[in-house]
Amino acid sequence: MSEAPLLEVTGLVKHFPVRGRRFGGHRQWVRAVDGVDFAIRSGHTFGLVGESGCGKSTLASLLVKLVEPSAGQIRFEGQDLGGLDRRALRDFRRRVQLVFQDTYGSLDPRQGMLSAITEPLFTLGIAADRADAVRRAEQAVALVGLDREVLKRLPHELSGGQRQRIAIARALALSPRLVVLDEPTSSVDVSVQAQILGLLDDLKQRQGLTYLLISHNLIVVRYMSDTVAVMYLGKIVELAAAAALFAAPLHPYSVALISAIPVPDPEAPSLTELARGDVSSPVNIPSGCRYHPRCPYAEAICRSEEPPLAEHMPGHYAACHFAGIAADHL
């Protein structure tokens, strides 16, 4: 508890302008990330869950400095990430890496796997020479359970599972401290998913990594994470330890997400869909509590006043005027 968090995010905001103007109207904004605060402790897995439009991918981009925030602050290892010079940025890239969701698209289709892994080793000044780079690449590939032979291949010659492992190997070859995993198992089969998750868990122990896991799949998040944050339309609506969140979710959206998952057991009670309608667009964010149009418990106050993310139980935060109201539905 006394140790400073590895990553600390305060009031993070990212708005994108909508291209093209409406006739006579003012410019519209996509409020992708609309005020987010959280911290990740070293050695932990922080899970971020949400559906489309919730801002989790944008948040991942912000944390690896692919885009710059519109407002707010990110501190990594105590250092503010705003305005880093080239040297500091290089250092940062060595310590924070991202494993992309699109396993095929995130690899240059004309680049062999050896080159794909060794290139960053050179550009970030990690490898001393070519022999060193090749050695590191071979180690990384072995670490993810692949044969050295795979280094000679091109992306289209590999299976989805192999590409996912290469993406992980590429990130790990840099010996980062924090790895952002963006939907690491969404594009692979169930059996491969189990392998990848097992691998990630194993690597975390062995290499002393910290993970930020982003997924729309609650089960995967639950399986891997220590702490979980649920995002909706750019804000965190619930934040708690994984076990606490799934045992007793406080926010109706969390309850809806959890109960929406079809349970692989024919005798389990049938799905109760508690969220109405479709996910709203991050261009037109509803007034008051942004979840109110879909919430079966919405009252007048929900339409007018946005609830703050408050600590309703120790370590368990929720942004809801009636936190806990939906819990009996589980």
Binding site: E51, S52, S159, G160, G161, D189, V190, S191, V192, Q193, A194, Q195, L197, G198, H216, N217, L218, I219, V220, R222, Y223, A243, F246, A256, L257, I258, S259, A260, I261, P262, V263, P264, D265, P266, E267, A268, S270, L271, E273, A275, D278, V279, R294
Partner: protein
């Protein structure tokens, strides 16, 4: 005993890849009775989509049926001409694809697209007994039915939505519209191929609930193709598990989940993480799915099977009946010596 809606027997399909014909489906058999929902489960390369496309006579040019029969309401589809297939297909089978946005014509309103089926088969609008309708009466009747079916799939304000274009609807609404389009022909069989994979999980829950209700209200017969065991458990009566082009196990849903017999079914269920219980244990299946071009000899699962016997590498197991409505293609159950 009524004729089963679908009866596939020993269907074998080959794919042309790189100039060579490769077996993709190997003696696939399934049966769906009227009003039943069968789940076809498998991972990539299992052949589940190819099976569905064969049934709907939508095979691509580089695929050919080399054996078996597909009986839809008793009529065998194999070996028919293009024209006959079109006729049979239009009346009997509706296919719902994964991505509604690519399926819908962006330049036509929803109502117009759904009503298009009546332009092709105007006789569907005529009453069972009585005189043929005039053109104007047909248009009115078509519109009435479009609205009726949009309402059936729980689209709010169906008259307004029927006049909208696809881009004005969200993904969930589009998928509902596509389902309405499938149902309006009153097909004997609806094939749904991963129809919720592209949707958010809360929207998926709504669509699944809708499908359940449709089964009750209009007695829809459904072939549900998915990789998600949860969907199978929640929606289907019976399940067929496919692996690398064959059906390895076919049983009632409850029987499959409680007492899976085939080692692959067991492994698949163990690899699916569940959310209940304090401890989630994931057991991965070692190895990888075999490439279609270079399959293992004998039983295709044997290199990854914890219960593999010598015979498994040589002889392809044929499905054996192990209980009422339960068949397994595995040497452990067909009485062959180890």
């Amino acid at each position: 005993m009524s004729v089963p809606v679908l009866e596939v027997t020993d269907l074998s399909v080959e794919l042309g890849i790189g100039g060579v014909w490769i077996p993709a489906l190997n003696k696939v058999s399934l049966t769906i009775a009227r009003g039943e929902a069968l789940g076809l489960v498998g991972e990539s390369g299992s052949g589940k989509s190819l099976t569905a496309l064969s049934i709907a006579a939508l095979l691509p040019d580089n695929a050919r049926i080399v054996g078996g029969s597909i009986r839809l309401m008793g009529d065998d589809l194999v070996g028919r001409s293009e024209a006959e297939l079109n006729r049979l297909r239009a009346r009997s089978v509706a296919f719902v694809f994964q991505n509604p946005t690519t399926f819908l014509n962006p330049l036509m309103t929803i109502g117009r697209q759904i009503a298009e089926v009546f332009e092709l088969s105007p006789e569907l609008l005529d009453p069972a007994d009585g005189p043929r309708l005039s053109r104007r009466e047909r248009r009115r009747e078509a519109w009435r039915r479009v609205v009726e079916y949009l309402r059936l799939v729980k689209i709010p304000d169906p008259e307004r939505v029927a006049r909208q274009y696809p881009f004005e609807l969200s993904g969930g609404m589009q998928q509902r519209a596509v389902i309405a389009m499938a149902l309006i022909r009153r097909p004997h069989l609806v094939i749904a191929d991963e129809i919720t994979t592209a949707l958010d999980v809360t929207v998926q829950a709504q669509i699944l609930a809708l499908l359940r209700e449709l089964r009750h209200s209009i007695g829809m017969t459904l072939l549900m193709i998915t990789h998600d065991m949860g969907i199978v458990a929640q929606l289907t009566d019976r399940v067929a598990v496919m692996y690398s082009g064959t059906v390895v196990e076919c049983a009632d849903a409850l029987a499959l989940f409680r007492r899976p017999k085939h080692p692959y079914s067991q492994a698949l269920l163990a690899a699916v993480p569940t959310i209940h219980g304090s401890e989630t244990v994931l057991r991965p299946i070692p190895g990888t799915i075999p490439a279609m071009t270079d399959p293992p000899s004998g039983c295709r699962f044997h290199p990854r099977c914890p219960a593999a016997m010598p015979a498994c590498g040589h002889v392809v197991p044929t499905p054996a009946v192990t209980g009422p409505g339960h068949s397994v293609a595995c040497h452990l159950y067909d009485g062959s010596p180890g």
